[in-house]
Amino acid sequence: MKRIKSILTISFAITISACTDLDIAPVNLLGEDEIYGSNDGVMSNVARIYSRLPIEDFKYYYAATGSSGFNYSGTLFKQMACLTGEAVGRDTQGADNEGFSYWDEGYSEIRDINTLLEELPARSATISEAETKTYLAEAHFCRAYTYFALAKRYGGVPLVTTTIEYPSPEGIEGTRLYRASEEAVWDLIAADLDNAIANLPEASPVKGRVNKYIAAAFKSRAMLYAGSIAKYNTVNETQDQGGTSVQICGIPANRANDYFKAAYDAANLVVASNKYALYKGLWVAGDAAAQAKNFRSLFLTETTENIFVKYYDQTNATHNYDESVQPAQTKTSGNDSEVSPSMDFIEMFNGIPKDANGQFKNRDENNHYYLFNSPRDAFANAEPRLRGTVIFPMDTYRGQVIEIRRGIWTGNAGGGIPTLANEGDIGNVADLADPNLKLASALGANPDIPLKPGDSHGATMKAAGVNGPVSNWDFGNTGGTYLAKYLNESGVTAGGNSTQSWIEIRLAEVLLNRAEAAYELYQAGASGDNYRTVAYNDINNIRERAGARMLTGEADLNHIDTVRRERRKELAFENKTYWDLKRWRILYDEQNNRRWRILNPFYSTDAQKYFLSVKFQEPRGGFQYIFTFDTRYYYQPIPATEINKNPKTKQNPGF
């Protein structure tokens, strides 16, 4: 017992003597000294800021319901292009709005940027002056980029330009900010980008980082957006903020020309640098096939047209684009066919037969279908840019003829093939009681239809080809076409192994930004430049590369729709059009009880030729595919949880 006592005494003594002050920095956390004390530290922080930029690329999933739809793993089903009418998709079933709210994520990004802006100058001793200058300018660019993502969604948002102490000296109240006016947010974006333009180097220090012209190119986009809001928005929401009335939604109309001019000047800066050029590596004058190939390869090649690129590679980051969009025919496993360019999109282009209403002309004056050896023949003379954007039925992709067929018609074609009962109309083809129509109910129930003896296609033919479309809910094609833009020509597609890089800004967009801003300025009678001449030249440069019909003279450019339509054709499927439709405030006009039109190729066993039926996207799986945009969403709702946290935040109207 005595021994135990002495052991205990000794133990206690040891324990007490072991007590030293434990107030040391944890070794598993990096503090501000580590981050801002070395070039490597700052670089890793800046890389983190870049990686969280709200870029709507292959990994942007608008329908995400969690905390974020950016850098989303598995953007497989709903695709943003299908919200614009450019395309139909099996899983984009209506005019959805963003499923997540970009707010918290944006402000944590802004906080990191603001911290960098404050900490870095204070520690400039360890990092060279030139590098510090670049880092700070990059931070301004990233902050503008983030506020742009907020402003285009919500209008005016709280302007945070410093690191807010938390808890604030004034208590929780000190962290509760009012929403700034929408105008003030756009002006901050302009100021941040001016700072970036003034302080960034001529060339990016490393590929993927920004330079002076990237900031200018982005400014042309942002200011065009602001100008459009000032001109076309009709929602003017104000809030009484302690006696001051602040316009949280909407910009005074008299600012429109300021913003258009800023967009115009910024675009000029990019163009005048002569650092970028429209890609024409494979382009041959007068050769439509080469021009189409050129346009297609633009998106899979590192070219001088690329201004700001988000890079993907097998080691660091991959995405699911091919898996989502690829034809059923070329897939090894996974998903397919989520984006099928619509006839509404295809009809925007020249070089296809059209009727008086500008719609695809598929029948003669006796209402008999035109017949083709191959459905692709109907589009043989289409504008090369369209051929570079869309895979038409029986086009070749990855060395395979992509067989898209809605069905086989076995009737007598002697007197011409009469119009199907629901041509141009609503409904599933399977609902037609036409005994001559042979369809597939599913890809796994795709009957072999006997052909006439001597048919060059063989003795039998699958009713719905390899890709469909089929009548029931299944994988496979839904609109008669596939998307070619950005689709990889080789490599693994399954399991999220796509590595093509996302071109966030390319010169064509900057030219179109300039053309649009210039035309708006011309319309407003602004002085300072020959705005219409500039717009005319920009449009024609784009058209020449596209292989499109040129504007014959400046007088041809007499409506803003000419500029807008060019933009929609050139930048289709690049996740820009949705926001364009929003800023022009025409999304509701386009999408009000709207169904998109699709192409249904049928093979006639008697004529041994194809005919092309056009109708509205067919209802499948109980979905009607009707699109009606809710006008409230021109300004999206601020998440209720944020309003609970900060009651000074006034909700956008209608929510």
Binding site: V235, D630, P653
Partner: protein
């Protein structure tokens, strides 16, 4: 050992019971009801149900200076009735397809009934009864006039719909995308004249083919809605006729 466990368990249970205290805020039980009526005709104000209809905004100022707005919605005939309102002082503003009303302070205790006379943007009246045609369509006649002389609400007509629904709930919030008819752009009718609208042009007259009702006989409900180029809370809001029922041939 068993003794110790018993003691511990008893202590936990005792402390658990001691923590029980009634902490429930009393459920709301006051009633706020009433109706929206057309100031001139004194008829019930016809509206949509939900966000595009009449929304009554209630700001509970007795709770906070900056309360989260509480919204309640009126029925298709402009009536509203909510029997689960917290007792208190409210700023109440009905919003809809009519000239805006000023916020009014109301003390809600017991049952409060309130009727609002409003000036609708448009007034749409039936002229005669709907006619069911032999070709599987139906034709209605209506007259659309301005409901107010307020100069701020004289915007041009933007859209007119003959809404057709399989249920009695018919309007922009619930309509058949096959049998309804939408008038817009050049097909918009003039104001103040009797106009005819036929069913079956959901994408606008001349877009696609006219849709006819199915071959079998069944009931449909019709209502005409129209809106001017003026949004309320960023929302397109319609004025409506009453609903009418037809039986197809």
């Amino acid at each position: 050992m068993k003794h110790i466990i018993h003691t511990i368990v008893s202590l936990i249970l005792i402390s658990g019971i001691a923590a029980c205290e009634e902490d429930n805020y009393r459920a709301p039980s006051e009633t706020f009801k009433g109706s929206i009526i057309d100031k001139e005709t004194q008829e019930p104000f016809q509206t949509a149900v939900g966000t595009t209809g009449v929304r009554i905004k209630m700001m509970e100022y007795s709770w906070s200076d900056t309360p989260t707005p509480y919204y309640m919605y009126a029925a298709m005939d402009g009536q509203f009735n909510n029997s689960k309102i917290f007792k208190g002082q409210y700023g109440v503003t009905p919003e809809g397809a009519f000239v805006p009303l000023a916020e009014e302070s109301l003390d809600i205790t017991g049952t409060v009934e309130k009727n609002y006379a409003v000036e609708p943007f448009l007034r749409i009246e039936w002229v005669g009864e709907p006619v069911v045609n032999d070709n599987g369509t139906a034709t209605v006649q209506v007259k659309i006039t301005r409901g107010t002389t307020n100069p701020g609400y004289q915007q041009a007509l933007a859209e007119v719909w003959l809404f057709v629904s399989e249920t009695q709930y018919v309007g922009d919030f619930s309509y058949s995308p096959n049998y309804s008819t939408r008038l817009t752009g050049t097909t918009l009718p003039p104001l103040g004249e009797t106009i005819s609208i036929t069913t079956g042009w959901p994408g606008g007259i001349g877009t696609g083919a006219q849709r006819s009702f199915p071959a079998y006989t069944r009931k449909y409900f019709l209502r005409v809605g129209a809106r001017i180029n003026k949004q309320v809370n960023s929302t397109n809001v319609y004025n409506f006729t009453t609903g009418k029922e037809i039986t197809t041939k």
